[in-house]
């Protein structure tokens, strides 16, 4: 396949491009899309992008912004060019993601029981026990199968050589999976011929897998479980996803006022009276879910929920306290954690990470702020991050002071040459940086999505992919290359 497919597409040197090889040849999994462009030209591509935008607005695929007056819903940004990954590579990646979640769950369970790993000195005890995500009231509790983080969204990036690395684990309330599903629905409508042309693995079994996983957590295994999805409400930024998943799974979408706890049993207020709840898929942060157990000022919580959960009368996914492993400092120890609990080497590596906690590493970080990415340990959504090469002296100075004041709260990583993919920008294909968030489920079984949500930085040269900060997305195609 010649280079003509993408016209004057200019790769960024040092970056791995997902669709085009360094020599300008199209990668085999992208053959179908390249053929399409050869056959129809880029004008057709632009027209399909327009059709795609209309489909998204007709389908009502949106996300919610907090401070936007009445018009709170924004159309979900999806780029017409898919990202392709060969299935042989995905097999290994998916195995690595499952390995990682299994180890993290063994780790969390250990932290709330014997704390062997701390006693053995593999992870510094104060790091865990002083973390605001370590919830002491959870000590001694045993969720079903010993699994605390049932739903995990792991962010992957590729380095300059194209190797997948884990950027972070999201073990609290990871979001984005609904957009992965909707992206596919939209793409199938807009590019039916491409789906006929190559074998693209489907993604649409996720809602059922999620339901199965949640059902496996039921404390009354013989009965049909009553599962609810707990949302903070219609103004939450992920409300679209909450209602989408509830609808796709066929479970109730409840807010805290729809639930009550009596005699340590959780009930749902239905039209027909109270119904006992078995499993709560909560999309509310753990410290807000029960004002009696954690924050007394929480207006999103259900009083008595934690006691009901501790008694085993209801399952909560993710279990409260699982966020202890969703800390960017703990992240640095995950390879060690995998080795400790499973006796295996990690199948996917971490991005090299410097802990500001460690005096030597801190010294290095402070001396090299201009080259590093510095992240606070417990923020999400891309907030509070310093991207060294793009920062001003003043920002670096501020960050240096923040690090010195609270070294435990910061990690630093080298600025990666994140991979790129051709993206339609103002009618022209240009390389844009992207990441990938697959979703991994663990209940009785382990499951990993086929691909995940690819987020793409739409601004030229930008590394910020979060939709709340102007990022877009791409449909991710796992293409069968094993036939």
């Amino acid at each position: 396949m010649g280079a003509k497919s993408f016209g004057h597409y200019q790769q960024i040197s040092q970056c791995f491009d997902e669709l085009v090889q360094a020599d300008g040849q199209i990668r085999p999994p992208a053959a179908a899309i390249a053929r399409f462009i050869d056959r129809h030209g880029s004008a057709e591509l632009i027209q399909r992008q327009e059709q795609l935008n209309q489909t998204i607005s007709a389908m009502g695929v949106c996300f919610t912004l907090y401070s936007d007056g009445n018009n709170i819903d924004r159309c979900w940004p999806l780029d017409v060019m898919p990202r392709t990954i060969p299935s042989s590579e995905w097999q290994k990646t998916s195995a690595g993601l499952k390995q990682r979640l299994a180890a993290l769950n063994l780790f969390i369970d250990d932290l709330y029981h014997d704390q062997r790993i701390l006693k053995d000195g593999k992870v510094p005890a104060d790091l865990v026990l002083d973390s605001r995500n370590y919830l002491a009231p959870c000590k001694g509790i045993s969720p079903r199968y010993g699994v605390w983080a049932n739903i995990c969204g792991t962010d992957l990036v590729r380095d300059g050589s194209g190797k997948f690395l884990v950027l972070e684990d999201n073990l609290r309330v990871p979001s984005g999976v609904s957009y992965m599903l909707e992206n596919r629905t939209v793409m199938k409508r807009v590019f039916p011929e491409l789906f006929a042309d190559s074998f693209i693995y489907p993604v649409d079994d996720y809602p059922h897998q999620l339901w199965r996983m949640l059902a496996s957590l039921s404390p009354r295994p013989g009965d049909v479980p009553c599962i609810v999805l707990l949302t903070p409400g219609v103004y939450n930024s992920a409300y679209f996803e909450h209602s989408f998943l509830a609808q796709q799974m066929g479970v109730e979408l409840a807010e805290n006022t729809d639930l009550l706890v009596q005699d340590d049993i959780v009930y749902l207020k239905t039209l027909h009276g109270l119904q006992r709840v078995d499993v709560i898929y909560r999309r509310v942060d753990d410290i807000f879910i029960d004002p009696q157990a954690f924050r007394p000022d929480s207006v999103l919580g259900i009083p008595g929920l934690i006691k009901a959960w501790a008694k085993g009368n209801v399952s909560i996914a993710n279990a409260p306290g699982s966020g202890v492993a969703d800390d960017k400092v703990i992240y640095a120890y995950v390879p060690e954690i995998i080795n400790y609990y499973l006796g295996e080497q990690p199948l996917i590596d971490n991005v090299p990470t410097y802990l500001c906690l460690d005096p030597k590493q801190r010294e290095y970080v402070l001396a090299n702020l201009g080259q590093l990415v510095v992240k606070p340990a417990n923020e999400s959504g891309g907030y509070g991050i310093l991207i060294g090469p793009r920062s001003t002296k003043e920002e670096q100075q501020q960050m240096a002071e923040a690090i010195k004041a609270n070294p435990r709260n910061f990690i630093a990583q080298p600025t990666l040459a994140l991979s790129t993919a051709p993206t339609l920008c103002d009618g022209v294909l240009e390389p844009r940086h992207l990441d990938l968030r697959p979703f991994i489920l663990q209940g009785r079984d382990l499951y990993c999505t086929t691909g995940g949500l690819s987020r793409v930085a739409l601004k030229k040269g930008s590394l910020v992919v979060n939709s709340s900060q102007g990022g877009g997305s791409k449909d991710t195609w796992i293409i069968n290359d094993e036939v």
């Binding site: 607005s57 007709a58 999805l229 609808q247 039209l271 009276g273 109270l274 119904q275």
Partner: protein, 319 residues
């Protein structure tokens, strides 16, 4: 279904029907204007009054404008975001309710609703001329019917489905009586004189009922008119009798069906005890008023099932 969702799904049905019926009312008005002689006075305040607005006050407050009163009233009924009765605000309320109970409705319906909303955003700005308005309103009605059709063909028969249908038929009964009221009051002031026979071809046309009305006439022994037809002919889907029948049928599986059914029977009795063709115009107007009050009461019992959640659990546990 969550108790909380009851109101949203009920209002979803109401607003969808309101959108359709407001479009029909606008078309019925246009028909009436076309049918009227040039020198006959159309009472715009009256049209606004039957929609629950203070018509005289509203019209007196209109800013000076090059537009005719007709155009101004139509903009109030179609595009005005501040007007409680406009097509635009009905659609935005519809969308808000759908968003809140999205998990209960089929995704095809969600998509139809979005496409309806986008259509209105795009087209409801241009209101020039009766012809254009007629096409626009017909399209609104058509799209509302598509939403209902999608739902009918795909939605699980559940409490939510029943409540949606109850909402639709309560609203329809409400709007049919309002439309009748416009027609009665536009043509005759309420008096003690026995009313003349109403044909109302234009309104029946707007309600899509002209053919079935002729069928009805052909199969009745007694003298009947459009009033009897719209109130009592239960085979016509926009008659009051039909709407009440549908509310009762949909309410049967609900936990508070007894209270709902009782209200429905009271309204049905109102129809049975009157000799409609003997009513004076004043009595007819009064009867329509009684219906309106009855519909408000019916709405109240539907949206307040009041299960007690905090007392005896054993009695309230559902299967």
């Amino acid at each position: 279904m969550l108790l909380k969702s009851l109101d949203h799904i009920f209002w979803l049905g109401r607003y969808l029907e309101r959108l359709d019926d407001t479009a029909r009312l606008i078309n019925a008005t246009s028909h009436l204007l076309i049918d009227s002689h040039k020198d006959s006075q159309f009472s715009w305040p009256l049209l606004l009054d039957v929609l629950g607005q203070n018509g005289a006050e509203l019209l007196s407050q209109l800013p000076p404008s090059d537009l005719t009163v007709e155009q101004q009233v139509m903009s109030f009924l179609i595009t005005d975001a501040d007007s409680e009765v406009s097509i635009r605000s009905a659609c935005s309320a519809l969308k808000q309710n759908a968003r809140t109970v999205r998990q209960l409705i089929p995704r095809d319906m969600w998509e139809e609703l979005n496409s309806l909303d986008l259509f209105l955003q795009e087209h409801c700005q241009q209101l020039q001329g009766r012809q254009h308005r007629y096409r626009l309103m017909t399209e609104v009605s058509r799209r509302c019917q598509m939403v209902v059709g999608v739902l009918d063909g795909t939605m699980l028969r559940s409490d939510a489905f029943d409540l949606f249908n109850i909402g639709r038929h309560v609203e329809r009964a409400d709007m049919t009586t309002r439309i009748m009221d416009v027609m009665v009051l536009q043509q005759l002031q309420p008096t003690d004189i026995k009313r003349p026979r109403f044909r109302w071809t234009s309104i029946l046309n707007a309600l899509g009922g002209i053919e079935s009305y002729h069928y009805y006439l052909a199969h009745q022994n007694t003298e009947v008119d459009a009033v009897d037809y719209l109130l009592t002919y239960a085979d016509f889907p926009r008659s009051i009798a039909y709407c009440l029948h549908r509310v009762a049928a949909s309410a049967k599986a609900l936990p508070h069906s007894a209270a709902i059914l009782q209200r429905v029977w009271q309204l049905q009795d109102l129809l049975k005890t009157q000799n409609l063709s003997e009513l004076t115009t004043g009595q007819l107007h009064q009867l329509i008023d009684q219906f309106q009050t009855g519909i408000i009461e019916l709405h109240e019992v539907i949206s307040t099932p009041k299960p007690e959640f905090s007392t005896d659990l054993s009695q309230q546990m559902s299967a």
